[in-house]
Symmetry: C2
Subunit: 355 residues, 2 copies
């Protein structure tokens, strides 16, 4: 069952497919995985032969570093199928570069570009039936790296696994999204790992998010840990604010994930003649604009949900609702991105990538 | 091979022991594990029957939350054997309370006290031959909890594993320890998870620590992320500074681990008539004292190494050496703690606990 490409990518195909057991109209995000996975081991200072194997459990020592010291980074990407059954990725080189940037910050080895792209393309083509046509349908792709070396010593591991798993997806968020602006808890420290897509950054948000949910919010918008005066980003998305006709978003720094959707939103908005300002945004500014009725939109940007319009926000003990616009920036920009992703429009940016 | 105690603790004994393969005089810290492990699953809102089983690999889905979102907490404890073959723990209730505090902050379920103590005692008695007599020898105990539920959705898992593994240990640090005082990178944010013993806090330190190692330091002493003016703690230990005859250490807060050794050092030092001040300690204060020759000691406190004397420190581009004292506070206090831990002295504090 094994065969080899020029790159020494070993492929072991699944004997049977699980695809007929899956209800593609009722997918909970990230819960069903395709028939295959990509896996590559780092041992003795190098990445060994990458493999595609049937999706399966990992057998891993209880002392593996990832469980104790959290050396773990990941990416989130999507594959889209167009009307001609062609499969597309969106700016995948940026995801590749970012996972290596994350790895570097976590003292983990970087992964070779050819392994990544060859592995990913082979995997997608093998599991292509799992990618359904139609706007909103996609295959969510989760590359991740974990420190697998046994041993409970608090130092970088010498053994890792680079893995890609894929989950068919519809839309990420159901229902209306209200956000709570953080005034006590925080997500990342200056000089810390907030800009890395590392596992620990996410668990750190769960408890404060749980508290926010108890108050009726779905997500937290984090502020700077130092003063809580400046808006940074949400749990899994960057955040934009529209005051009057101006679109504001925070600059990236070592506390904020440099979102690929964020960059795309900025470029598309500018191209559409929208006045975009990338600068520190004060909580107060947003609250004052909301009071005056000038705060027209808040939306999040991220691979999972593309653009998530926010219907209201809370800060300290006050809550504000946002107006319902018919010509929201969020809708216009979302449509432009989706059209590129699904190969329904020209792509003058060169963002689309054939898998 | 299974039998059951009143607490429904299931015990499956290993068929053979690995103990004869182990060179107890040449143990690398945390790399060899005993014959058994404790494991308990959290499913459907409750902790199931706890088990002791032969030490073995975990079989875990690649989408398990711990790999992606870092829900993982742990503890570090030690068991000591006295001259009469009795096994002792040191303030274990504090470790138990702390792992639950860490779990709470990471939105993970707390673990029942009886399960923890029954499981731990049974495990230690089963693997008691792995605990060697003699000062410095001990069994390092690693309780930890990981989110095992499959699914790449960024929200708290509903399935967890509470595990205890044990590694025979000699001393933790070899050689002299020089520390670098952080002036750019940081360990924890105010409002973040620094006070939790959660996996991600450790990986976050590896890269800056690597940079410090390249400059000739073994560890980093973290400062507040906001101003870098105040000394906080080191990677796996709290830090004490002796200026003249005064012993200084930072107060705990939501960025600092509330160390059990730290608390013990403070209490013992006070009892020995040492003037202890628990208050924010400025980097400048230490540098000025070093310049004047008043900085007599720096030492770290933590379960693994008990007390680690620091022989020198670096700050920005300067380096200072510390004097070699014959009657160092660090030695006096270390001896007092070891005597309690190894049942060589009275324990008026009630810290010793028979396993
Ligand atoms: C913390 C955080 N911010 C922002 C984003 C959005 O980034 P991207 O647009 O690259 O998906 C993500 C994840 O996808 C994230 O995890
Ligand atoms: C970050 C950190 N600080 C301090 C300590 C010392 O705590 P304790 O004395 O309870 O072992 C540890 C670990 O043990 C630690 O991981």
């Amino acid at each position: 069952m094994s065969n080899t490409t020029t790159l020494q990518l070993e492929v072991e195909k699944a004997k049977t497919s699980k695809i007929n057991e899956v209800d593609f109209d009722n997918l909970a995000f990230g819960s069903v995985f395709t028939d295959h996975m990509f896996i590559c081991d780092y041992v003795n200072g190098e990445w060994k032969t990458p493999k595609i194997i049937p999706y399966q459990s990992l057998v891993i020592d209880p002392s593996a570093r990832v469980f104790h010291y959290g050396q773990a980074v990941f990416e989130g990407m999507k594959a889209y199928k167009d009307d001609n059954d062609q499969i597309w990725l969106f700016r995948p080189k940026d995801n590749f570069d970012r996972i290596n940037k994350s790895s570097k910050r976590m003292a983990m080895p970087e992964f070779p570009e050819e392994y990544f792209f060859e592995g990913l393309k082979t995997l997608l083509n093998l599991d292509k039936d799992w990618i359904k046509k139609g706007l909103g349908n996609s295959l969510y792709i989760r590359p991740f790296v974990i420190a697998s070396e046994p041993g409970v010593m608090a130092s970088p591991a010498e053994e890792y696994k680079f893995i890609i798993i894929c989950a068919p997806a519809q839309a990420y968020y159901g229902g209306e999204v209200r956000v709570k602006i953080a005034d006590h808890y925080s997500r990342a420290a200056s000089g810390g790992v907030g800009a890395a897509k590392t596992a620990g950054n996410y668990a750190a948000q769960f408890y404060p998010t749980k508290l926010a949910k108890e108050e009726g919010f779905q997500q937290v918008v984090w502020t700077d840990a130092n003063t809580h005066e400046y808006l940074e980003e949400a749990g899994t998305m960057n955040v934009f604010f529209r005051i009057g006709d101006k679109l504001l978003t925070a600059p990236t720094n070592d506390r904020i994930l440099d979102g690929i959707t964020r960059k795309s939103v900025i470029e598309i908005a500018k191209d559409k003649g929208i006045d975009v300002e990338i600068r520190p945004v004060k909580v107060n500014e947003i609250v004052e604009a909301a009071k005056k009725g000038n705060l027209k939109e808040i939306f999040g940007s991220g691979t999972a949900a593309v653009i998530t319009p926010v219907v209201g926000f809370g800060y300290k003990d006050k809550k504000w609702d946002l107006p319902k616009l018919t010509d929201a920036y969020s809708s216009v920009i979302k449509e432009a991105i989706l059209n590129i992703q699904y190969n329904k429009s020209e792509d003058k940016y060169g963002w689309r990538y054939k898998a």
